[in-house]
């Protein structure tokens, strides 16, 4: 069966490796599992709607109309921060293209020298000196790069993220350099909103009970019970989380570094990124420059699609209605695709390396398309003792 190659323009997000889902033609970027995010959204919107429906009319009349107004402002701010955290690029580092990966491999081989057969090669680590402290940069076998300091590979999203904090299922995305401030403001404003709703629920119940009695109040406004329950349980977790992140912020640390204990303990390296001043640390993270995304999601690139040239090809939407005449058959180029074109959503695990290879090759259609080069064999993570131990640790 021969195939005709037609070239079409696609957006770069369609060819990005990794386990992210994209919406709105690449403008929105999230992780694959979004169920808990929908739950978060439902809880926030649901509880606030109950508050506006049951409490606000009474409080606006009997106390002050500014109470619902402030609640609306706070609610909109919380939603804005949540959506900004969930939908933005956390600071994903693009994978190395073939030439860069080969160049790094050659550098590593040169540095290692000759390893006797049967022995494991040394772990791929680069030492750099940052502010008079030695920091180790690890090699990422998936992305084929030496990770910058503070970057880490998220196994859920299958990306290296700069200044990786953690992967938050409540938000449905990783929290990294680009969206950490939105995440912090989200937890802070959500704590305020929860405390606000909880307080005014209690005030409302007390004020109404004085007039009508406690049980009658609960019968008139059944939503209050639900709100109080949700707020009570949310309060402990969200306020605790805000406190924890405020502590990390003041020390300019990430959750990842805190869990691994990178900067704690006597014999360990001290945090070289901290300014040793709480205010300066907070200002840097919250009010510092907004980093742009280095993933060009909405850029255009070319893609070669095979269109089978057979007499009966009714399902092919891109081919013309009339079959290609026999005489032009010989003239058309006969090529086979290198890897199956599987969209981002349904990437099976065994096709991952081929996706990475095709994603790296497709952005450079102008260059020649040579077959796989005879580069030195790329070491697998299993050959490296340290990565295999670390894999067990992270799980």
């Amino acid at each position: 069966m021969s195939a005709v190659m037609i070239t079409r323009k696609v957006r770069k997000w369609e060819k990005l490796p990794g386990k992210n889902t994209f919406c709105c033609d690449g403008r929105v970027m999230m992780a694959r599992q979004k169920g808990v995010f929908y739950l978060t959204l439902f809880l926030i919107v649901g509880t606030c709607s109950l508050f506006f429906a049951f409490e606000c009319p009474y409080l606006a009349v009997h106390l002050s109309p500014t109470i619902p107004v402030f609640a609306i402002v706070l609610f909109l701010f919380v939603l804005a921060m949540l959506l900004r955290t969930s939908f933005s690029d956390p600071g994903v580092l693009p994978r190395a293209l073939q030439e860069e990966a080969t160049f790094i491999e050659m550098e590593i081989e040169a540095a290692n020298g000759n390893v006797p057969a049967g022995q494991r090669p040394p772990p791929r680590i680069r030492n750099v000196q940052i502010n008079n402290q030695i920091v180790k940069l690890k090699y990422c076998y998936t992305c084929k790069i030496f990770r910058p300091p503070r970057a880490s590979h998220c196994s859920i999203c299958d990306n290296c993220v700069d200044r990786f904090d953690h992967h938050c299922p409540w938000v449905g995305n990783c929290v990294g350099k680009r969206n950490y401030r939105y995440f912090y403001l989200f937890t802070l404003s959500l704590s305020l909103l929860t405390i606000y709703i909880f307080t005014f629920d209690i005030v409302h119940v007390v004020m109404r009970s004085v007039d009508n009695g406690f049980l009658n109040t609960l019968k008139e406004t059944p939503g209050t019970v639900l709100e109080v329950l949700v707020c009570f349980f949310t309060l402990w977790s969200v306020v605790g989380l805000t406190g924890f992140h405020t502590y990390l912020l003041s020390l300019n640390q990430t959750t990842n570094e805190d869990i691994k204990g990178s900067w704690s303990g006597k014999n360990r390296v001290q945090n070289p990124y901290s300014h040793k001043n709480i205010i300066k640390n907070c200002c840097e993270v919250l009010c510092g420059p907004t980093y742009p995304s280095v993933l060009d999601r909405r850029g255009l690139t070319q893609e070669d699609l095979p269109v089978p040239v057979a007499s009966a090809a009714p399902s092919s939407s891109s081919s013309s209605s009339s079959p290609v005449p026999q005489t032009t058959h010989a003239v058309l180029c006969l090529q086979k695709t290198k890897a199956p074109l599987i969209p981002n959503k349904r990437t099976p695990d065994d096709a991952k390396p081929s996706i990475a290879a095709s994603a790296q090759k497709s952005p450079s259609p102008k260059e020649e398309n040579p077959p796989a080069p005879k580069a030195p064999p790329l070491a697998s993570p299993e050959m490296d003792v340290e990565t295999s131990i670390n894999k067990d640790k992270t799980h």
């Binding site: 000196q129 980093y291 742009p292 005879k374």
Partner: protein
């Protein structure tokens, strides 16, 4: 066929050898800076001073983008108060400086690097990880040489086939001719 495979391998190796990657310099922390060390592969092609000047200017531009000054604080606070909706209409300071950097790299390519057969790529296209310097003239030279070789070899083959078929035909006709 084996001939074309080896030619393509040579092309790939030539492509690999013709690129130099200037890595990041992390000695000042996570700020975006590139190493000013002059790569040995470019010794014959480029002046050391010019290369260092280019990388130093790039580093200064990136430092300007990431500077923690009053301007970045004001921008941050204003954005926070408007729930970051102000960025829908306004460009961030970092993006403005990135545009400046793209222009500068283009300028450097036109003035200094292209006349020497080199091409610098903007690091934003590589995730701000490397500045890659491609040797365009070497590539072009190798490609043209290899393609001309392949043309010559194909031409020779066709010629030989034609000649042999003519010779066969001649033999055939001579046999048919009555003596």
């Amino acid at each position: 066929m084996a001939e074309t495979h080896s030619l393509q391998d040579m092309r790939q190796q030539a492509a690999v050898a013709a690129k130099v990657f200037i890595q990041r310099d992390y000695t000042n922390g996570t700020v975006c800076q590139f190493q000013t060390k002059f790569p040995s592969e470019l010794e014959t092609r480029l002046d050391k001073q010019q290369f260092e000047e280019t990388v130093r200017t790039l580093n200064n531009l990136y430092a300007e983008a990431e500077k923690l000054g009053s301007q970045s604080y004001i921008e941050g606070c204003l954005a926070c108060l408007t729930a970051y909706t102000v960025f829908l209409c306004m460009e961030t300071h970092y993006e403005k400086v990135l545009k400046k950097i793209t222009k500068y790299i283009q300028e450097q390519n036109d003035k200094i690097y292209a006349p020497r057969g080199l091409l610098l790529t903007d690091p934003i296209e590589r995730g701000l990880r490397v500045v890659s310097c491609t040797s365009v003239s070497v590539l072009a030279g190798i490609y043209s040489f290899l393609s001309s070789l392949s043309h010559v070899s194909t031409g020779t083959w066709i010629l030989s086939q034609t000649l042999s078929s003519c010779v066969d035909r001649g033999h055939h006709l001579r046999r048919q001719k009555p003596d």
